[in-house]
Protein backbone atom coordinates (compact mmCIF):
# COMPACT_ATOMS: atom_id res chain seq x y z
CA UNK A 1 0.00 0.00 0.00
CA UNK A 2 2.77 2.35 1.09
CA UNK A 3 4.82 1.25 -1.88
CA UNK A 4 2.02 2.06 -4.36
CA UNK A 5 1.53 5.49 -2.77
CA UNK A 6 5.22 6.28 -3.06
CA UNK A 7 5.25 5.05 -6.63
CA UNK A 8 2.31 7.30 -7.51
CA UNK A 9 3.98 10.28 -5.82
CA UNK A 10 7.19 9.71 -7.75
CA UNK A 11 5.22 9.45 -10.96
CA UNK A 12 3.48 12.76 -10.24
CA UNK A 13 6.79 14.44 -9.46
CA UNK A 14 8.28 13.17 -12.74
CA UNK A 15 5.25 14.48 -14.59
CA UNK A 16 5.57 17.86 -12.86
CA UNK A 17 9.28 18.11 -13.72
CA UNK A 18 8.58 17.08 -17.31
CA UNK A 19 5.78 19.66 -17.58
CA UNK A 20 8.07 22.33 -16.14
CA UNK A 21 10.77 21.48 -18.67
CA UNK A 22 8.20 21.58 -21.48
CA UNK A 23 6.92 24.94 -20.25
CA UNK A 24 10.46 26.35 -20.01
CA UNK A 25 11.25 25.19 -23.57
CA UNK A 26 8.01 26.72 -24.82
CA UNK A 27 8.60 30.02 -22.97
CA UNK A 28 12.21 30.16 -24.19
CA UNK A 29 11.05 29.62 -27.75
CA UNK A 30 8.49 32.37 -27.41
CA UNK A 31 11.06 34.78 -26.01
CA UNK A 32 13.62 33.94 -28.72
CA UNK A 33 10.97 34.30 -31.41
CA UNK A 34 9.88 37.66 -30.06
CA UNK A 35 13.46 38.93 -29.88
CA UNK A 36 14.21 37.71 -33.41
CA UNK A 37 11.08 39.20 -34.93
CA UNK A 38 11.28 42.51 -33.06
CA UNK A 39 14.82 43.05 -34.40
CA UNK A 40 13.64 42.77 -38.01
CA UNK A 41 15.67 42.15 -41.17
CA UNK A 42 18.36 44.65 -42.21
CA UNK A 43 17.01 47.18 -44.64
CA UNK A 44 13.43 46.95 -43.52
CA UNK A 45 11.87 49.83 -41.62
CA UNK A 46 12.37 49.43 -37.89
CA UNK A 47 10.05 50.85 -35.21
CA UNK A 48 12.50 53.74 -34.68
CA UNK A 49 11.90 54.96 -38.26
CA UNK A 50 14.06 53.73 -41.11
CA UNK A 51 16.65 51.00 -41.52
CA UNK A 52 19.85 50.71 -39.53
CA UNK A 53 23.15 48.87 -39.61
CA UNK A 54 23.10 45.28 -38.38
CA UNK A 55 25.25 44.76 -35.30
CA UNK A 56 26.88 41.57 -34.10
CA UNK A 57 29.23 41.06 -31.11
CA UNK A 58 31.37 44.17 -31.29
CA UNK A 59 31.02 44.68 -35.07
CA UNK A 60 28.44 46.04 -37.48
CA UNK A 61 27.53 45.09 -41.01
CA UNK A 62 26.85 47.80 -43.57
CA UNK A 63 25.17 47.40 -46.93
CA UNK A 64 27.08 49.45 -49.50
CA UNK A 65 25.91 49.93 -53.09
CA UNK A 66 28.81 50.50 -55.49
CA UNK A 67 28.62 51.52 -59.15
CA UNK A 68 30.13 48.59 -61.04
CA UNK A 69 29.94 48.18 -64.83
CA UNK A 70 26.67 50.01 -65.28
CA UNK A 71 24.88 48.66 -62.21
CA UNK A 72 24.80 49.10 -58.47
CA UNK A 73 26.42 46.15 -56.76
CA UNK A 74 25.76 45.54 -53.08
CA UNK A 75 28.60 44.56 -50.77
CA UNK A 76 28.33 43.86 -47.06
CA UNK A 77 31.10 45.55 -45.10
CA UNK A 78 32.05 44.62 -41.55
CA UNK A 79 33.06 47.58 -39.39
CA UNK A 80 34.60 47.40 -35.92
CA UNK A 81 33.85 48.56 -33.25
CA UNK A 82 30.10 48.21 -33.25
CA UNK A 83 28.16 51.25 -34.52
CA UNK A 84 26.58 53.09 -31.59
CA UNK A 85 24.41 55.76 -33.20
CA UNK A 86 23.16 57.00 -36.55
CA UNK A 87 25.95 59.56 -36.93
CA UNK A 88 28.50 56.78 -36.68
CA UNK A 89 26.42 54.72 -39.09
CA UNK A 90 26.41 57.58 -41.61
CA UNK A 91 30.13 58.29 -41.20
CA UNK A 92 31.11 54.63 -41.57
CA UNK A 93 28.78 54.21 -44.57
CA UNK A 94 30.30 57.16 -46.45
CA UNK A 95 33.84 56.11 -45.50
CA UNK A 96 33.25 52.57 -46.74
CA UNK A 97 31.56 53.89 -49.88
CA UNK A 98 34.53 56.11 -50.72
CA UNK A 99 36.90 53.13 -50.39
CA UNK A 100 35.22 51.66 -53.47
CA UNK A 101 34.25 48.08 -54.26
CA UNK A 102 36.58 45.27 -53.27
CA UNK A 103 39.16 44.28 -55.88
CA UNK A 104 38.22 46.86 -58.52
CA UNK A 105 41.15 48.22 -60.50
CA UNK A 106 39.19 51.06 -62.10
CA UNK A 107 36.53 52.16 -59.65
CA UNK A 108 33.96 54.80 -60.47
CA UNK A 109 34.46 56.30 -57.00
CA UNK A 110 36.69 59.40 -57.36
CA UNK A 111 40.11 58.56 -55.87
CA UNK A 112 41.22 60.62 -52.89
CA UNK A 113 37.71 61.76 -51.97
CA UNK A 114 37.22 62.31 -48.22
CA UNK A 115 34.29 62.91 -45.92
CA UNK A 116 34.52 66.38 -44.34
CA UNK A 117 31.38 66.37 -42.24
CA UNK A 118 27.81 65.20 -41.75
CA UNK A 119 24.74 67.19 -40.73
CA UNK A 120 21.29 65.88 -39.96
CA UNK A 121 18.94 68.52 -41.33
CA UNK A 122 15.23 69.03 -40.99
CA UNK A 123 12.72 66.84 -42.84
CA UNK A 124 15.04 63.83 -42.61
CA UNK A 125 17.71 65.18 -45.00
CA UNK A 126 21.27 64.06 -44.31
CA UNK A 127 23.87 66.55 -45.60
CA UNK A 128 27.10 64.83 -46.65
CA UNK A 129 30.02 67.22 -46.97
CA UNK A 130 32.70 65.76 -49.23
CA UNK A 131 36.14 67.04 -50.22
CA UNK A 132 36.65 68.83 -53.52
CA UNK A 133 38.40 65.72 -54.88
CA UNK A 134 35.04 63.95 -55.05
CA UNK A 135 34.22 66.37 -57.87
CA UNK A 136 37.62 67.15 -59.41
CA UNK A 137 38.74 63.50 -59.55
CA UNK A 138 35.48 62.17 -60.96
CA UNK A 139 36.04 60.59 -64.36
CA UNK A 140 32.96 59.16 -65.93
CA UNK A 141 30.06 59.39 -68.31
CA UNK A 142 26.40 60.13 -67.56
CA UNK A 143 25.56 56.63 -66.32
CA UNK A 144 28.64 56.47 -64.07
CA UNK A 145 27.77 59.84 -62.53
CA UNK A 146 24.16 58.79 -61.98
CA UNK A 147 25.21 55.52 -60.31
CA UNK A 148 27.86 57.29 -58.20
CA UNK A 149 25.20 59.53 -56.62
CA UNK A 150 22.49 56.90 -56.47
CA UNK A 151 24.87 54.39 -54.86
CA UNK A 152 25.69 56.89 -52.11
CA UNK A 153 21.99 57.58 -51.57
CA UNK A 154 21.00 53.90 -51.45
CA UNK A 155 23.88 53.04 -49.11
CA UNK A 156 22.96 55.76 -46.63
CA UNK A 157 19.26 54.97 -46.69
CA UNK A 158 20.05 51.29 -46.12
CA UNK A 159 22.17 51.87 -43.01
CA UNK A 160 21.16 55.10 -41.31
CA UNK A 161 18.04 55.24 -39.21
CA UNK A 162 15.53 58.05 -39.56
CA UNK A 163 16.70 59.72 -42.78
CA UNK A 164 14.59 60.11 -45.90
CA UNK A 165 16.95 61.96 -48.24
CA UNK A 166 20.60 62.83 -48.86
CA UNK A 167 22.16 66.07 -50.05
CA UNK A 168 25.78 66.26 -51.22
CA UNK A 169 27.94 69.28 -50.40
CA UNK A 170 31.42 69.88 -51.77
CA UNK A 171 33.78 71.69 -49.40
CA UNK A 172 30.79 72.79 -47.37
CA UNK A 173 28.86 74.29 -50.28
CA UNK A 174 26.20 73.20 -52.72
CA UNK A 175 27.58 72.13 -56.07
CA UNK A 176 25.89 72.34 -59.45
CA UNK A 177 27.05 68.98 -60.73
CA UNK A 178 29.75 66.42 -59.99
CA UNK A 179 30.50 65.42 -63.58
CA UNK A 180 28.44 67.73 -65.81
CA UNK A 181 25.54 65.36 -66.52
CA UNK A 182 23.45 65.17 -63.32
CA UNK A 183 22.41 68.07 -61.07
CA UNK A 184 23.66 67.67 -57.53
CA UNK A 185 22.28 70.95 -56.16
CA UNK A 186 19.26 69.16 -54.70
CA UNK A 187 18.52 66.14 -52.52
CA UNK A 188 19.27 62.86 -54.26
CA UNK A 189 15.86 61.16 -53.88
CA UNK A 190 14.94 62.41 -57.38
CA UNK A 191 17.49 59.92 -58.77
CA UNK A 192 15.91 56.97 -56.99
CA UNK A 193 13.51 55.96 -59.73
CA UNK A 194 13.84 52.86 -61.85
CA UNK A 195 12.41 51.63 -65.12
CA UNK A 196 12.19 48.30 -66.87
CA UNK A 197 15.60 48.84 -68.49
CA UNK A 198 17.07 47.74 -65.17
CA UNK A 199 19.31 50.70 -64.53
CA UNK A 200 18.60 50.70 -60.83
CA UNK A 201 20.13 48.52 -58.18
CA UNK A 202 21.86 45.35 -59.34
CA UNK A 203 22.12 42.23 -57.20
Amino acid sequence: MEHTKRKRLAKRRRLAVFSLILFLIFAGGLAAGYLYLSRGPVGSPSPGGGPEAQTEQGSSYLKIYYPVRGYLQMEERLVTPEIQDREEAARDTVTEYLKGPAGMADPAIPPGAKLRGLYFGTNGILYVDLSETFKSNFQGDALTEYLLLRGLYESLLSNVQGITDVMVLIDGRETGSIGGHILADRPLSGLAITNAAGNGKGN
Binding site: Q139, D141, G176, S177, G180, H181, L183, R186, L191, I193
Partner: protein
Protein backbone atom coordinates in the same frame (compact mmCIF):
# COMPACT_ATOMS: atom_id res chain seq x y z
CA UNK B 1 -14.18 75.20 -114.26
CA UNK B 2 -11.06 77.26 -114.83
CA UNK B 3 -11.77 79.19 -111.62
CA UNK B 4 -11.98 75.94 -109.67
CA UNK B 5 -8.63 74.78 -111.06
CA UNK B 6 -7.04 78.07 -110.08
CA UNK B 7 -8.49 77.75 -106.56
CA UNK B 8 -7.14 74.21 -106.27
CA UNK B 9 -3.68 75.29 -107.45
CA UNK B 10 -3.75 78.18 -104.99
CA UNK B 11 -4.61 75.86 -102.11
CA UNK B 12 -1.83 73.41 -103.04
CA UNK B 13 0.69 76.25 -103.25
CA UNK B 14 -0.46 77.59 -99.88
CA UNK B 15 -0.03 74.17 -98.27
CA UNK B 16 3.47 73.82 -99.78
CA UNK B 17 4.46 77.30 -98.61
CA UNK B 18 3.21 76.60 -95.09
CA UNK B 19 5.13 73.31 -95.01
CA UNK B 20 8.29 74.99 -96.26
CA UNK B 21 7.91 77.80 -93.73
CA UNK B 22 7.37 75.29 -90.93
CA UNK B 23 10.48 73.37 -91.91
CA UNK B 24 12.49 76.56 -92.11
CA UNK B 25 11.40 77.52 -88.60
CA UNK B 26 12.08 74.08 -87.08
CA UNK B 27 15.39 74.30 -85.29
CA UNK B 28 17.75 71.61 -84.11
CA UNK B 29 19.64 72.45 -80.90
CA UNK B 30 23.01 70.74 -80.56
CA UNK B 31 24.53 70.87 -77.08
CA UNK B 32 28.24 69.99 -76.94
CA UNK B 33 28.91 68.58 -73.45
CA UNK B 34 31.17 70.17 -70.81
CA UNK B 35 33.45 73.14 -71.70
CA UNK B 36 35.74 75.63 -69.94
CA UNK B 37 37.07 74.31 -66.63
CA UNK B 38 34.72 71.33 -66.92
CA UNK B 39 36.86 69.20 -69.21
CA UNK B 40 34.67 66.10 -68.99
CA UNK B 41 36.51 62.80 -69.05
CA UNK B 42 40.28 63.04 -69.55
CA UNK B 43 41.40 60.11 -71.68
CA UNK B 44 44.91 58.74 -72.01
CA UNK B 45 45.32 58.33 -75.75
CA UNK B 46 48.76 56.87 -76.35
CA UNK B 47 50.51 58.89 -73.65
CA UNK B 48 48.66 62.03 -74.69
CA UNK B 49 45.71 63.60 -72.90
CA UNK B 50 42.45 64.02 -74.80
CA UNK B 51 39.70 65.98 -73.06
CA UNK B 52 36.08 65.11 -73.69
CA UNK B 53 34.98 68.75 -74.04
CA UNK B 54 37.16 69.22 -77.14
CA UNK B 55 35.86 66.10 -78.90
CA UNK B 56 32.24 66.89 -77.91
CA UNK B 57 32.56 70.29 -79.61
CA UNK B 58 34.23 68.85 -82.73
CA UNK B 59 31.52 66.20 -83.20
CA UNK B 60 28.77 68.75 -82.50
CA UNK B 61 30.12 71.17 -85.11
CA UNK B 62 30.33 68.34 -87.64
CA UNK B 63 26.71 67.31 -86.89
CA UNK B 64 25.60 70.93 -87.30
CA UNK B 65 27.39 71.16 -90.67
CA UNK B 66 25.85 67.87 -91.85
CA UNK B 67 22.36 69.02 -90.82
CA UNK B 68 22.78 72.40 -92.54
CA UNK B 69 23.91 70.60 -95.69
CA UNK B 70 20.61 68.70 -95.55
CA UNK B 71 18.68 71.98 -95.29
CA UNK B 72 18.01 72.05 -91.56
CA UNK B 73 18.31 75.06 -89.25
CA UNK B 74 20.75 74.39 -86.44
CA UNK B 75 22.25 76.20 -83.49
CA UNK B 76 24.94 75.18 -81.04
CA UNK B 77 24.31 75.75 -77.35
CA UNK B 78 28.04 76.43 -77.04
CA UNK B 79 30.30 77.02 -80.03
CA UNK B 80 33.46 77.86 -78.07
CA UNK B 81 35.39 76.37 -75.16
CA UNK B 82 33.28 77.93 -72.41
CA UNK B 83 31.77 76.58 -69.20
CA UNK B 84 27.98 76.30 -69.08
CA UNK B 85 26.03 74.80 -66.20
CA UNK B 86 23.17 72.40 -66.82
CA UNK B 87 20.55 75.06 -66.03
CA UNK B 88 22.24 77.56 -68.36
CA UNK B 89 22.20 75.04 -71.19
CA UNK B 90 18.50 74.40 -70.68
CA UNK B 91 17.82 78.14 -70.64
CA UNK B 92 19.84 78.86 -73.80
CA UNK B 93 18.23 75.99 -75.70
CA UNK B 94 14.68 76.70 -74.49
CA UNK B 95 14.91 80.36 -75.49
CA UNK B 96 15.16 79.28 -79.15
CA UNK B 97 12.29 76.78 -78.88
CA UNK B 98 14.03 73.99 -80.78
CA UNK B 99 12.12 71.20 -82.53
CA UNK B 100 14.80 68.69 -81.55
CA UNK B 101 17.47 68.77 -78.82
CA UNK B 102 20.62 66.67 -78.91
CA UNK B 103 23.32 66.72 -76.23
CA UNK B 104 26.68 65.30 -77.38
CA UNK B 105 29.12 63.57 -75.01
CA UNK B 106 31.68 60.77 -74.95
CA UNK B 107 31.32 57.45 -73.15
CA UNK B 108 33.82 55.92 -70.76
CA UNK B 109 33.99 52.76 -72.84
CA UNK B 110 33.97 51.55 -76.43
CA UNK B 111 30.26 52.01 -77.05
CA UNK B 112 27.60 54.40 -78.22
CA UNK B 113 25.16 55.17 -75.40
CA UNK B 114 21.87 56.86 -76.19
CA UNK B 115 19.84 58.27 -73.31
CA UNK B 116 16.35 59.62 -72.93
CA UNK B 117 15.19 61.04 -69.63
CA UNK B 118 13.55 58.92 -66.96
CA UNK B 119 11.00 61.06 -65.14
CA UNK B 120 9.17 60.31 -61.89
CA UNK B 121 5.42 60.46 -61.47
CA UNK B 122 5.44 63.72 -59.59
CA UNK B 123 2.23 64.66 -57.88
CA UNK B 124 1.90 68.37 -58.53
CA UNK B 125 0.40 70.70 -55.96
CA UNK B 126 -3.17 71.57 -56.95
CA UNK B 127 -3.71 74.46 -59.38
CA UNK B 128 -4.91 77.76 -57.97
CA UNK B 129 -8.65 78.41 -58.34
CA UNK B 130 -9.62 81.00 -60.94
CA UNK B 131 -8.69 84.47 -59.69
CA UNK B 132 -6.50 82.98 -56.96
CA UNK B 133 -2.95 83.88 -56.05
CA UNK B 134 -0.46 83.54 -58.89
CA UNK B 135 3.08 83.43 -57.62
CA UNK B 136 6.08 83.81 -59.95
CA UNK B 137 7.82 80.57 -60.90
CA UNK B 138 10.64 80.98 -58.41
CA UNK B 139 12.08 78.03 -56.54
CA UNK B 140 10.48 77.50 -53.14
CA UNK B 141 12.66 78.04 -50.10
CA UNK B 142 12.86 74.32 -49.45
CA UNK B 143 14.48 73.72 -52.83
CA UNK B 144 17.82 75.08 -53.91
CA UNK B 145 17.85 77.54 -56.77
CA UNK B 146 20.17 76.79 -59.66
CA UNK B 147 22.36 79.59 -61.08
CA UNK B 148 20.66 81.97 -63.45
CA UNK B 149 16.99 82.79 -63.77
CA UNK B 150 15.92 79.35 -64.87
CA UNK B 151 14.37 77.15 -62.23
CA UNK B 152 16.58 74.07 -61.97
CA UNK B 153 15.55 71.24 -64.22
CA UNK B 154 15.11 67.75 -62.94
CA UNK B 155 13.02 65.89 -60.49
CA UNK B 156 12.55 65.92 -56.77
CA UNK B 157 11.18 62.51 -56.09
CA UNK B 158 7.63 61.35 -56.25
CA UNK B 159 6.05 63.97 -54.04
CA UNK B 160 6.49 67.53 -55.27
CA UNK B 161 5.55 69.53 -52.25
CA UNK B 162 6.52 70.05 -48.65
CA UNK B 163 5.38 67.26 -46.38
CA UNK B 164 3.66 69.78 -44.13
CA UNK B 165 2.06 71.62 -47.01
CA UNK B 166 -1.38 70.08 -46.64
CA UNK B 167 -3.25 68.34 -49.42
CA UNK B 168 -5.75 70.96 -50.48
CA UNK B 169 -3.78 74.18 -50.02
CA UNK B 170 -3.36 76.45 -53.02
CA UNK B 171 -1.54 79.41 -51.41
CA UNK B 172 1.35 81.33 -52.98
CA UNK B 173 3.95 78.77 -51.85
CA UNK B 174 2.00 75.92 -53.38
CA UNK B 175 1.60 77.80 -56.65
CA UNK B 176 5.29 78.73 -56.75
CA UNK B 177 6.06 75.07 -56.23
CA UNK B 178 3.64 74.11 -58.98
CA UNK B 179 5.20 76.51 -61.49
CA UNK B 180 8.65 75.33 -60.48
CA UNK B 181 7.83 71.69 -61.08
CA UNK B 182 5.93 72.37 -64.27
CA UNK B 183 9.14 73.89 -65.64
CA UNK B 184 11.20 70.90 -64.59
CA UNK B 185 8.65 68.60 -66.19
CA UNK B 186 8.63 70.18 -69.64
CA UNK B 187 10.00 67.02 -71.22
CA UNK B 188 7.12 64.86 -70.02
CA UNK B 189 4.77 65.28 -73.05
CA UNK B 190 7.70 64.60 -75.40
CA UNK B 191 9.01 61.41 -73.78
CA UNK B 192 7.46 59.20 -76.48
CA UNK B 193 8.94 61.32 -79.25
CA UNK B 194 12.30 61.34 -77.48
CA UNK B 195 12.25 57.54 -77.47
CA UNK B 196 11.43 57.58 -81.21
CA UNK B 197 14.35 59.91 -81.84
CA UNK B 198 16.62 57.66 -79.77
CA UNK B 199 15.44 54.68 -81.80
CA UNK B 200 16.18 56.50 -85.09
CA UNK B 201 19.67 57.32 -83.80
CA UNK B 202 20.25 53.72 -82.75
CA UNK B 203 19.26 52.42 -86.20
CA UNK B 204 21.36 54.96 -88.05
CA UNK B 205 24.45 54.36 -85.90
CA UNK B 206 24.04 50.58 -86.25
CA UNK B 207 24.12 50.96 -90.02
CA UNK B 208 27.10 53.30 -90.01
CA UNK B 209 29.10 51.42 -87.33
CA UNK B 210 28.03 47.76 -87.62
CA UNK B 211 30.73 46.45 -85.26
CA UNK B 212 30.07 48.87 -82.43
CA UNK B 213 28.04 48.31 -79.28
CA UNK B 214 25.06 50.68 -79.28
CA UNK B 215 22.81 50.77 -76.25
CA UNK B 216 19.76 52.74 -75.17
CA UNK B 217 18.99 53.72 -71.61
CA UNK B 218 16.67 55.93 -69.60
CA UNK B 219 18.06 57.65 -66.52
CA UNK B 220 17.04 60.86 -64.73
CA UNK B 221 18.74 63.62 -66.75
CA UNK B 222 17.71 67.10 -65.57
CA UNK B 223 18.93 68.82 -68.73
CA UNK B 224 16.58 66.77 -70.89
CA UNK B 225 13.75 67.16 -68.33
CA UNK B 226 13.67 70.92 -68.94
CA UNK B 227 13.45 70.71 -72.75
CA UNK B 228 10.01 71.04 -74.34
CA UNK B 229 10.93 69.04 -77.45
CA UNK B 230 12.13 65.56 -78.36
CA UNK B 231 15.47 65.41 -76.53
CA UNK B 232 18.23 62.82 -76.25
CA UNK B 233 21.79 62.66 -75.02
CA UNK B 234 24.22 60.64 -77.10
CA UNK B 235 27.61 59.44 -75.93
CA UNK B 236 30.10 58.40 -78.61
CA UNK B 237 32.84 55.80 -78.01
CA UNK B 238 35.89 56.79 -75.96
CA UNK B 239 38.81 58.17 -78.03
CA UNK B 240 41.00 55.14 -77.24
CA UNK B 241 38.69 53.21 -79.58
CA UNK B 242 37.76 55.86 -82.13
CA UNK B 243 40.26 58.13 -83.89
CA UNK B 244 38.64 61.54 -83.57
CA UNK B 245 41.73 63.17 -85.12
CA UNK B 246 40.67 61.55 -88.38
CA UNK B 247 38.20 63.94 -90.09
CA UNK B 248 36.61 61.01 -91.94
CA UNK B 249 35.67 59.35 -88.63
CA UNK B 250 34.11 62.52 -87.23
CA UNK B 251 32.33 63.25 -90.50
CA UNK B 252 30.98 59.68 -90.74
CA UNK B 253 29.62 59.87 -87.20
CA UNK B 254 28.10 63.30 -87.84
CA UNK B 255 26.44 62.07 -91.06
CA UNK B 256 24.89 59.11 -89.23
CA UNK B 257 23.53 61.29 -86.42
CA UNK B 258 22.31 64.03 -88.78
CA UNK B 259 20.68 61.38 -90.98
CA UNK B 260 18.80 60.02 -87.96
CA UNK B 261 17.49 63.47 -87.05
CA UNK B 262 16.33 64.05 -90.64
CA UNK B 263 14.74 60.60 -90.92
CA UNK B 264 13.06 61.11 -87.55
CA UNK B 265 10.68 63.30 -89.47
CA UNK B 266 11.00 66.84 -88.30
CA UNK B 267 11.82 68.01 -91.83
Amino acid sequence: MRHRLWALAFCCAAVLIFQWAGAAQALVAIDPGHGGYDRGIIYDTGGKETSEKRVDLAISKAIAAALRAKGASVFLVRSVDRYLGIAQRARIASARQPAVFLSVHLASANAFQIYASLMPNVQLPPAAPAGGNQAPPAAPAAVNQAPGNLPPAGNQGVQAGPASGGGGQTGPDQQALRQYYLYSMRQRPYLGKSRDLASALEQSLKQAFPGETISYMEIPLPLLDAIAAPAVLVECPAPQYMDYNNPAVVSGMAQAIAGAIISYGTY
